[in-house]
Symmetry: C2
DNA sequence: CCAAATTTGTTTCATTTGTAACCATTGAAA
DNA sequence: TTTCAATGGTTACAAATGAAACAAATTTGG
């Protein structure tokens, strides 16, 4: 029996990871240089900008972050006065998070940059390749259960 | 002008990252539980198992790891006596890394598990979806320059 | 031949991360 | 009620990471 070999360069988990790492790294330069944000902070800003108001738990679900990451990102954005916490009327454990004017301004500044980034990334692909990426990613999301 | 919003759930960098994270996390359970390896250690084992012998720099290039990760992973595998270093004859800065019997045995144990993992992941997709994933990933790799 | 620049790999230090413990509050069960 | 489990969120501690400084060897350019 021949010795079985795994070709790392063709191994899907590795390829996906490297891809995501490269893209994420490139994009992070934008919010890092522009706003001095970490990835959890960017996701928090982005989530609240998109949805308006969320609790920490909801934020974690929406942006796939562990609750400690959420907690720390929220604390930092609060320190910058980019968001405020409003206690829930019924459940005193819960706080509703909302961006302040300043937070919203930062969000509004980031949105077009994010869109351009994505557009330029996809622009490097042919129409068919773009379609493959989109449906491939969607299919994997479904396959991985949850969302 | 309406306020521009970014839908995080549709944003490619986020989706890619979340996907890779989920897949990688799931797969890491295998080499973590089975061999007590970290990801850099797994990649080192995998790279050397596949190629036979490499220098640290080559390892870093093949497996997309920062040189400090390589350095630490190699040190740990050496501590376990899973690999040995052989000084290069011409350049005394360079060491050639090779798996020992024990390292090779661990590698051989992992290869089928990795293949099964990948196969089962792809098995959750239809033929067309698999094709989309494969060509989408390949296209993005090319688009991101390098490899 | 020599000084400066480059390369290989390790180490140090600060930051980020994850796990687990934790506190406070709420809900459910008895 | 009173207790016990579950939930929202923070914190403490240990491990993983990245940037930068580093030592040693090599290459390059006068």
């Amino acid at each position: 029996m021949e010795p079985e070999i795994l070709e790392l360069e063709s191994f899907l988990p590795y390829r996906l990871y490297r891809l995501a790492d490269a893209v994420s790294r490139e994009f992070s330069r934008i919010y890092k240089e522009r706003q001095g944000l970490t990835r959890p902070e960017w996701r928090t800003l982005s989530g609240l900008g998109q949805r308006g108001t969320m609790t920490a738990t909801e934020l974690g679900e929406q942006s796939a972050m562990h609750k400690t990451k959420v907690s720390r990102a929220v604390a930092e954005l609060e320190r910058r006065r980019w968001l405020t916490r409003t206690p829930d009327g019924n459940d005193r454990r819960v706080e509703h998070l909302t961006l302040t004017k300043a937070g919203l301004a930062a969000y509004r500044e980031m949105v077009p940059l994010a869109k351009v980034f994505e557009r330029e990334l996809l622009a490097r692909l042919s129409r068919e390749e773009r379609a493959a990426v989109v449906s491939g990613v969607a299919a994997l999301e479904v396959a991985l259960g949850g969302k």
